[in-house]
Symmetry: C2
């Protein structure tokens, strides 16, 4: 670890930071960045322009598989108009249709969980606005919204539990997937055929927070169903109790949403490099997904990670280091729909499994398509060293998850030392999942995420309309950018590539 | 304490409760109950009909002073339309005008805190939507939303601090009041004269909660200014940062709000009695304000208190007790605008100060008008025993504040015993203020409130759009109704009236 370089990294990160400008531009100038939306394209363009401005190399968008259609929304007005009038707070699910102007209809509570339910309601739903979730009792918040690790919390991360034996029943997962897809298609058709005006479900969280993902369909040629909203629990439950009380509840809604293409377009990852010197053909990567859900500004999920990774590249370029290995940054798309951008990139660049090409398997996503052989490594596989990702909100890095790669632990411990004074101290053996480093990890390539202070990510922010700039901390983002820059530089300079653990093939 | 009666009270309260029906009717069938709004009149009528149905006596509305105009609102659509489009969550302040259809204008951040500020902006505000608050940094929630007392918390209430010497400078308070009123009138006129489309301020709380009271004017003949909104912090700050970034931010708003009368109408308190027997001319009172703010359903502030007091009366009537003293329930109006309903009632019924009738004092509210003599007691003053109030959210009663009336403490301790098993154990000497028992207390009449578990009243609910049924607990309301019924019955039966402390005259 070259402490001279780390000093210069810290000083550039702390006293000449541009991380907040990048973060604010992505979130508030561009806005939320649903994959394949016009905003996501603006973000790809913005990232490329900054990378070029900073003097990075090989700046480009790399397409990934035929992701589907773009979608965005402009406004969502929902209100009760009878038996009394008041505004209802609700927002549309991504990839669902708008209302084409104001609609008005009677609210009706129904259960539509299987094809058998359809018969029960046939002919009875015309012009109705369906409330599909059950009433959910308020769950009092008995922990603080905001969390930062204390020493005990960090220490607790050190324990590792032997994993339970998992029986990966691919056949069952395929059947479940097909059943679910079939039901969704039938439901969308049923709702349209019956003349349902809109459907509403309860937000996943209480306290007026609208937590919402996607519905309808992003695939060209498929039915997108009817307008589909998530409503705050306090309003949803109110409607449900009024219906239970036999009130005739009338609702007006005006949702301006649109599909921005009619074809299954590819998505795009944005990449850039700081070229290596003596080992230029070897690769150290850093990245984060740049796509987001649509109702906040995708600030903590994941403009924060994007801005930190961009800033780390800017810092390294700006202080003029000449790394031995090439440092490559990737800003992924399609993460929220299943790590699609990073998985596609890894499979085309480093390693993949040959997959069934039978027509009867064409409906399956790549992650479920039957494998027809062992993992196939590309030449770049052996030239790859390590990938660092950020996607657990905007909280401060307090250490790193070694992802069961024990040989990596002493290396990380060493790299963390110049950040101990900032509260980053902890290397833990355990795994963390659910985001793009897993695309590397599952083909046996070292991919890591940092231990982050939680802040209010999982109480207020994650996939909610409150995922905005205010819930992030400037100091945390600066700290993270410095640490990532130091880690990737150290990885690019060390004699050996990062040690690897065994590939666990299914 | 007649434990046979307390058993019957508890059983009626716990196994034959109607408190949730009353609570839900007030909140979700009627809705929020701004004083002098049509909903408040519905609530007065509903309360009278229930009191009559239950067989209570002297059921009536009693008018209080010329409160002002009624107001309500039906809908509030606010959205950013440029440089990008998304819904903004905002709600109107009470007694402000609607927009008369959709309006569109450019957002502009301005400071309008004194008449001098007007000059600076003269001629520059036409067609603008003004953002009047400063950007406010997010304040992370480091305590749980939901609070219940533990033993240590209850014990801590036992300490009493000798009050600091307060210099009540009536002249200064009068001047401050007049300055404020003058500025508000001038501001309203300025905004109208300049052709401002609307004003927006930041909600008092973070996390998407809209906390909002009144503005404009409820007094007939006064300017109500322009449409005036409170916006969630996450959206407000976003607009402020975009303006700071020199973006041209255009906003569309459509607020359907209306004044429901053009005259300074009286408000109304609703009263009912369970007549006494051997001491029928002596009075024990219980009450709560029934009015609310307008954006939630006024559930925890204060349909909860209203439903508990109504239920206590129902319980006592239903179990057929014959109290010695008359038990009178009062459901107040105008509490949110300064305990207006209860103060007017107490001054007309029990005691009041002679007030200046000079024309130059006519602009002052009664609470500020100069007194021209000592307190004057009406005959009912000496026949009054005690008043119990509930208005600190819907949390469970854990004891009672003795309001510095030490002689009341052993009496309350005794009355609490049959509720110790329910967690109500604590009599504390300290005061609690800010609601209708103070109207009694300040003329030397015993008026009390209970120690209540806080729940999330001061984190999510108080004066916010989340003041809804979901944030209340059925068990707590049943418990409270039983305890109030037992306390008022005990007060109505004991040999002596409740001891009194000295009147502190100003």
């Amino acid at each position: 670890m070259d402490l001279n370089v780390v000093s210069r990294i810290r000083q550039e990160a702390f006293y000449n930071s541009q991380v907040m400008q990048t973060f604010t531009h992505l979130t508030e100038e561009i806005g939320p960045r649903l994959t394949n939306s016009p905003n996501m394209q603006k973000a790809n363009d913005y990232a490329k322009s900054k990378f070029n401005e900073w003097g990075l190399s090989n700046v480009k968008d790399v397409p990934f598989e035929d992701f589907g259609r773009g979608w965005d929304f402009r406004s969502a007005h929902v209100e009760m108009i009878a038996p009394r009038a008041f505004p209802l707070h609700a927002l549309p699910k991504a990839w669902t249709p708008g209302t084409n102007g104001p609609i008005e209809g009677e609210a009706m509570a129904v259960t539509l969980k299987s094809a058998e339910d359809f018969k029960k309601y046939q002919g009875k739903l015309k012009g109705k606005i369906l409330f599909l979730s059950e009433l959910r009792a308020y769950k009092p918040g008995t922990e603080p919204d905001q969390r930062r690790y204390d020493d005990a919390g960090l220490a607790a991360l050190q324990s590792f539990a032997v994993p339970k034996t998992m029986t990966s029943d691919r056949a069952k997962r395929i059947k479940d997937f097909r059943d679910r897809e079939k039901f969704t298609r039938e439901l969308n058709k049923f709702l349209v055929d019956e003349g349902v005006l809109a459907t509403v479900s309860i937000s996943g969280w209480d306290n007026g927070i609208i937590r919402v993902g996607g519905a309808g369909s992003r695939r060209a040629g498929e039915s997108v169903g009817v307008p589909d909203l998530a409503m705050i629990a306090e309003h949803y439950n109110q409607v449900m109790r009024m219906l239970d009380h036999k009130d005739v509840v009338r609702i007006r809604a005006d949702i301006e949403a649109r599909f921005t293409s009619d074809s299954n377009d590819p998505g795009y990852n944005t990449l850039a490099e700081l070229p290596g010197t003596s080992k230029a053909d070897e690769i150290v990567m850093l990245g984060a997904h740049m796509d987001s859900w649509h109702t906040g500004t995708g600030a903590n999920d994941n403009a924060a990670g994007t801005a930190v990774m961009m800033e780390a590249m800017r810092i390294l370029k700006s202080i003029g280091v000449k790394p031995k290995r090439t440092i490559r940054v990737a800003l992924w798309g399609g993460e929220e729909q299943g790590l699609i951008g990073s998985a596609d990139y890894v499979s085309k660049t480093f390693a993949s499994y040959p997959l069934s090409t039978k027509p009867e398997d064409a409906d399956l996503p790549k992650s479920l398509r039957p494998r027809t052989g062992a993992m196939q490594r590309k030449p770049a596989y052996d030239k790859f060293s390590v990938y660092f990702n950020m996607d657990n909100g905007s909280g401060k890095f307090r250490g790193i998850y070694a992802q069961e790669n024990l040989a990596a632990m002493p290396i990380f411990q060493e790299w963390l030392k110049p950040f101990n004074d900032l509260g980053a101290t902890t290397v833990v053996s355990r795994n963390t999942g659910s985001t793009d480093h897993i695309s590397f990890d599952r083909v046996g390539l070292p991919g890591f995420q940092f231990v982050q202070d939680g802040l209010d990510y999982f109480t207020n922010v994650h996939h909610s309309h409150l995922d905005t700039v205010d819930h992030a901390s400037e100091e945390d983002l600066k700290h993270n950018a410095a640490m990532v820059a130091a880690f990737v530089y150290a990885a690019a300079m060390r004699d050996e590539r990062m040690p690897r653990k065994a590939v666990i093939e299914e």
